[in-house]
């Protein structure tokens, strides 16, 4: 069951990274294309790509990551690398949900026939890729360091007292 949860978390996170790479590629095409119809198509498609891939994968990555942390010895706040990944995931998902408004606005511009060409999707996708790669490195290397909320002994041991923060 734990391996299944790990597969789900890795799958969701890899899917998220892949979706962001696609968004970056679309953004670059939107900036570089000469054909106005291609530019229009890019900004029309970025919003549904966001709602159908970016948002579901980011939420799935967050949920499976939480399950993974809480269901294993790693815990959610025990190790710095897990805690930092959680914060990064929460920030990235929050920014993505807010950024969907911008993608919707760009899609509206394109739908109305205006030139929606903008560097914003490229900048946001590039930043997201950096963040996801950092999360990937943390997941693979699992750098040492336990937080102040680390139990001195495994939970359930008689006489256990957590280390004060």
């Amino acid at each position: 069951m734990r391996r299944l949860a790990l597969v789900a978390h890795v799958g969701a996170s890899v899917g998220w990274l892949g979706a962001v790479v696609v968004s970056l590629a679309l953004g670059v095409v939107g900036l570089a294309a000469d054909d106005p119809q291609v530019v229009r198509a890019v900004y029309l498609i970025l919003e549904p790509v966001g709602w159908t891939t970016l948002v579901p994968f980011s939420v799935a990555s967050l949920v499976t990551g939480l399950l993974q942390a809480l269901g294993t010895h790693w815990g959610l706040t025990r190790h710095y690398w897990v805690l930092i990944k959680l914060v990064m995931n929460l920030v990235a998902t929050g920014v993505l949900l807010l950024y969907m408004q911008t993608l919707g606005y760009l899609a509206d511009l394109a739908r109305g026939g205006a030139d929606a060409r903008n560097a914003s999707p490229v900048v946001h996708a590039a930043a997201a890729i950096v963040l996801l790669l950092v999360a990937l490195v943390l997941s693979v290397y699992k750098p040492r360091g336990t937080t102040a909320w680390t139990p001195a002994r495994p939970a359930g041991v008689q006489g256990f007292r957590p280390t004060p923060p």
């Binding site: 930092i84 911008t102 903008n118 102040a148």
Partner: protein, 46 residues
């Protein structure tokens, strides 16, 4: 890197904290400057 528990965070965590703080300050500055959701006036070439 040594296992650290309690008040002393490893160096890599301090580096992450500094980078995170810089990113947060930049994000807040950009939001205050008008960039972000709901501030689309500068987007697109109408």
């Amino acid at each position: 890197m040594s296992e650290t528990r309690g008040s002393r965070a490893p160096r890599w965590v301090k580096v992450f904290a500094v980078i995170g703080a810089v990113v947060v300050v930049l994000l807040v500055a950009m939001l205050v400057a008008g960039h972000g959701p709901g501030h689309h006036h500068g987007l697109g070439a109408r």
